[in-house]
């Protein structure tokens, strides 16, 4: 093998001389042969032909020898490509369709792969990322994060000297009025030293900066490169300036390296602050004190010779001590037990940690499969087109062979055409991918989360794309090339006007059609499933109006009003907002549906009428609200009354409950007039009377079943202890018909500031709040729908092309049939039935594969089964309709063939 290759390489170097020698050698052979015939008594001219007959095709032998004696010649290869380009340009429409479908297919694959690559495969841009591990606290509640007291214990365990902790946070950069926010990271002082991340400007912070109240330089801050560019215009004097975080001045000491986007892959940070300076902000609860405030993520660099497993073992040994040392003051024994058992585990994490990865990893992988399938459909389609072209170019190939081209040369010609197609497709596809991947990542951002990914292509993306390009080219040229290589030189001389289509061509074309139909169906079923899942989620009745509600979260910590006077302050805010023109009604509450204020679960509610249940068995949500809350949100009061002026502090404690609550506690009996015991602490037990029943409304999740909820009057529920620890309140506004949230925001802001100018607030429409929870479903529905239509379109074009082509080939046959009395109808059916047969087979295969494959989508679906028959029927029906449409036009044309003109042609 090697020897042959060496010999070919040697021959390549002496090519032109060898070519001449070969010519000489063959010429002499022929001359001697001819002489021999003359000697045997033949006529000289006769001998000339006899010699050539005996020798065989001189050019064929010569071409074959030249091709095999040395490596393929550059000029021959270039010639192949120029012939390829010429013949592709001769059929511009088919070429454009092929290039476009390839560009979309390869582009989509590259786009999604490059996102997956950044999200799942790339390592953090830090020193020796492979040595990094994360520490997770895994308990029955799936807490992933770690509290400060626990972290303080962990860092003292042997082998964890190179560990660091950080927490992501959102901080206000202005104090009053409408707030501006920055994404902050609180990190322990050794983080840059352990990671080996340098500063682009100034310095990174170090252990000496990480102490309570700040180090020698006072509280310091490091800003991200992005933030520096966006907010300081990249000014060199940014270092040394002051950044006011929640009213506390921090000195900017440096700018992080541009490649460092933080440790949370999928997002980035604006400012990084030493963890120990967090208490300066004076927030409650005190995040560095409480063992139940699990907000830290911990990573460590593996010491030499250690593995994640050995670190886990070390942690397990240290765990009882850590847990006992940090035990929070739980009221209930089972909480203590749960806390003790929560295991700490070290896992290798060269790629950092990522919420985006957890949320969208599966969805993106699924999309990669979908676009892979679309590419497969596109390839099968192009293969069909190429096959048709090959058949149409039968004459061309046989002439080429007669002129000395070998079978291999013809295959190379077709491969060149395929490569040109897929290379152009890839070129356009890469542009499409650049744009598409950015668009897609942008779609993942929400008001609560800024999605940022480093999408710069690395070797993996380049390798994957080149491999795809070559693989597609080979895929769609294999069948046509096999066919073309078999063309005999003599064919060119035969008259093949009769137009009776060969069977083998129809068969391999048919197989390709079946593949196209089956794969398209698979993509369509996926699209139908995701669309139905999204609709089920988006149109689920959540128990409130979505469209007309604007929520302002008001922060009162800066206000001069003491906590005791805040209920009254809130009420004045509500009245001021309600008076704004365009506001239909306004209500106060602690929680809003899926709002950022969060939901609160009360520890203990019992009903003397039914002692079986309590807030400990079932999560019960308590939401303190003002009168008019239900009217504002459009939640129906089914029985009883709304809260009103009677329900003051000191008056009879009252509550309104939702249906889920009523069913849980009282079954079918009416909850009205029933009494509940609300136990906030062993000392604080209140008897509460139920005065109203409202429809179920979602608070915590748009997906989960709606939980039992109890509403209490703000005035009765917000005692001083609560008001001291929670300083914000939500003002929900129902926008009147004819006005819009955007128009109202400014006047509502003025009204709030008019009550107390030290109040800070943020606005958000309920629609915006909710949109976050649909992103994955919306994205899957949108993209799979788009690619489903694309696959359908490509398959439709393929069907049309193949049918039109076969009609063309069978023109004579069809003409004869019609001349012999076949009706247009029967001819139409003749053609269409063939298409339908292939489509039917494809649908059968597709349905089978879909039923098997849909199980992998189950975790991504809401409200429907993975084997949803409706989705399957919808997809199959759509496909068959498109197929009939695609087959109809050529079939109709076939039925209008004029028999006379066909017979004249032959």
């Amino acid at each position: 093998m090697l020897r042959v290759l060496l010999s070919r390489v040697r021959a390549t170097l002496r090519r032109s001389r060898l070519d001449d020698e070969l010519d000489d050698e063959l010429r002499e052979h022929l001359a001697m042969l001819q002489e021999r015939f003359v000697r045997n008594g033949r006529d000289p001219s006769e001998a000339f032909y006899a010699a050539r007959r005996q020798f065989g095709g001189v050019t064929q032998v010569r071409e074959a020898l030249m091709e095999r004696s040395a490596l393929p010649r550059m000029d021959v290869l270039l010639q192949d490509f120029s012939v390829a380009i010429r013949s592709l340009r001769a059929t511009p429409v088919a070429t454009a369709v092929a290039v476009l479908s390839l560009a979309l297919g390869i582009g989509a694959n590259t786009a999604i792969f490059s996102i997956l690559n950044s999200l799942l495969l790339k390592s953090l841009p830090v020193r020796e990322a492979s040595q990094l591990v994360t520490l997770d606290s895994v308990g029955p509640n799936e807490y992933f994060e770690i509290s400060y007291p626990v972290w303080n214990q962990i860092r003292q365990v042997r082998g964890f000297d190179h560990s660091f902790a950080w927490a992501t946070d959102r901080v206000r950069l202005s104090d009053t009025g409408e707030a501006t926010f920055a994404e902050a990271v609180w990190a322990s002082g050794n983080v840059f030293e352990v990671l080996g991340v340098p500063a682009a400007l100034g310095r990174t912070f170090a252990i000496r900066d990480d102490s309570r109240g700040g180090g020698a330089n006072g509280p310091v801050a490091l800003i991200s490169y992005r933030y520096w560019q966006q907010h300081f215009g990249g000014a060199a004097d940014a270092v040394g300036r002051t950044l006011t975080v929640e009213r506390v001045p921090f000195t900017i000491i440096g700018v992080a390296a541009p490649s460092f986007l933080g440790l949370n892959v999928g997002t980035t940070f604006d400012v990084m602050l030493p963890l120990e300076t967090e208490p300066l902000l004076g927030r409650t609860p005190e995040r560095l004190e409480i063992a139940t405030w699990t907000w830290l993520q911990v990573m460590a660099r593996l010491p030499p010779g250690q593995t994640p497993e050995s670190l886990t073992v070390a942690l397990r040994a240290a765990q009882p001590g850590i847990r006992a040392e940090t035990m929070p003051s739980f009221d209930h024994v089972e909480d203590r037990g749960r806390y003790l058992r929560a295991a700490l585990i070290a896992k290798s994490a060269p790629g950092g940690v990522s919420r985006l990865r957890r949320q969208y990893g599966t969805a993106l992988s699924t999309l990669l499969v979908v676009v892979g399938l679309v590419l497969l459909v596109a390839c099968a389609n192009i293969a069909t087109l190429m096959l048709a072209r090959t058949a149409a170019r039968h004459d061309e190939f046989s002439v080429r062979r007669a002129l000395g081209a070998s079978g291999a040369r013809i295959v190379r010609l077709l491969l060149a055409e395929s490569l040109v197609l897929s290379a152009v497709g890839t070129g356009i596809g890469l542009l499409f991918a650049q744009w598409g991947s950015r668009l897609l990542v942008g779609q993942l951002s929400t008001w609560a989360y800024t999605a940022v990914l480093d999408l710069s292509p690395d070797w993996r993306v380049l390798a994957a794309t080149s491999a795809t390009t070559v693989a597609t080219a080979i895929f769609f040229c294999v069948v046509p090339a096999y066919r073309a290589a078999g063309v005999a030189p003599i064919d060119a001389l035969k008259r093949r006007r009769l137009g009776l289509a060969g069977n083998s061509s129809a068969l391999s074309g048919g197989a390709l059609l079946i593949v196209q139909v089956a794969v398209s169906l698979l993509v369509l079923v996926g699209a139908a499933l995701f669309l139905r899942s999204f609709t089920a989620l988006a149109y689920r009745d959540l128990g409130f109006d979505r469209g007309r509600i604007l929520v302002a979260v008001v922060e009162t910590r800066r206000s001069a009003v003491p906590p005791a006077g805040r209920v009254e302050l809130y009420e004045r805010v509500r009245e001021a907002v309600a008076r704004v023109p365009g506001v239909e009604s306004a209500a106060l509450s602690m929680a809003t549906p899926l709002g950022s204020a969060g939901v609160r679960f009360t520890p203990d509610i019992t009903a003397p009428a039914n002692p079986v249940f309590s807030g400990r068995n079932v999560r019960i949500l308590t939401n303190p609200v003002s009168p008019d809350w239900f009217r504002t949100f459009g939640t129906k009061i089914l029985a009883g009354r709304d809260f009103d002026g009677r329900d003051r502090a000191g008056a009879q404690n009252v509550a309104i409950v939702n249906e889920a609550f009523a069913t849980h506690y009282f079954g079918a009996a009416s909850p009205l007039g029933q009494t509940l015991i609300e136990a906030n602490s062993p000392m604080d037990r209140r008897s509460v009377e139920i005065v109203g029943l409202v429809q179920d409304a979602a608070f915590a999740s748009v997906r989960d079943p709606i939980e039992p909820t109890i509403y209490r009057p703000l005035t009765q529920r917000l005692d001083e202890r609560w008001l001291t620890s929670v300083s914000n309140i939500s003002v929900s506004i129902r926008v009147a018909q004819g006005s819009t949230s955007a128009r109202l925001a400014a006047s509502v802001a003025a009204a709030i500031s008019g009550v107390d100018r030290d109040l800070a607030f943020t606005f958000q429409t309920l629609t915006e709040t909710l949109s976050v929870f649909y992103i994955r479903e919306r994205l899957l529905a949108l993209l799979s729908g788009f690619f489903g239509v694309l696959a359908l379109l490509i398959a439709g074009i393929g069907l049309y092309g193949v049918t039109a082509y076969s009609v063309n080939r069978r023109r004579t046959e069809l003409g004869i049939r019609m001349a012999l009395g076949a009706t247009p109808r029967s001819v139409l059916w003749l053609v269409l039935s063939r298409v339908l047969m292939f489509v039917g087979l494809g649908v059968l295969v597709g349905v089978g594969v879909s039923i098997w494959a849909s199980q992998f989508l189950a975790s991504l679906l809401f409200g429907i089964q993975a084997r949803d028959p409706v989705a399957l029927i919808e997809a199959a029906t759509t496909l068959v309709l498109v197929a009939v449409l695609a087959g109809w036009f050529p079939a109709w044309r076939a039925s209008h063939v004029d028999p006379a003109s066909v017979l004249q042609e032959s």
Binding site: V4, A31, M32, R68, S69
Partner: protein
Amino acid sequence: VATTKDRSEVLQGTLDLMVLKTLDALGPLHGYGIARRLEQVSDDQLRLNEGTVYNSLLRLVQEGWISSAWGASESNRKAKFYSITKTGRKQLARETESWERFSGVIGRVLRLGTDH
């Protein structure tokens, strides 16, 4: 002259063996000479386009089993002479042995039944 039907197609690979043996037996020869020799020994039983001899020659040269050099033919024409190399002889011995074993087996199989 035998009709096409009486002649046998030359198996790929078999031709290589025949060319190799010819060069071993007769010493250096040019392509024309090899074609004549094959015609002569096969008693016109082989159907052969003489051009295919050159395919064989190229293969054998590339494997290093034969070598070539320019010289003058009997009629004083310029011609390329091929001769067998040392590795070529070894290869020929191997091939001959395996061919004989193979044809022996085929022969026995084909005689089955006629003996009984």
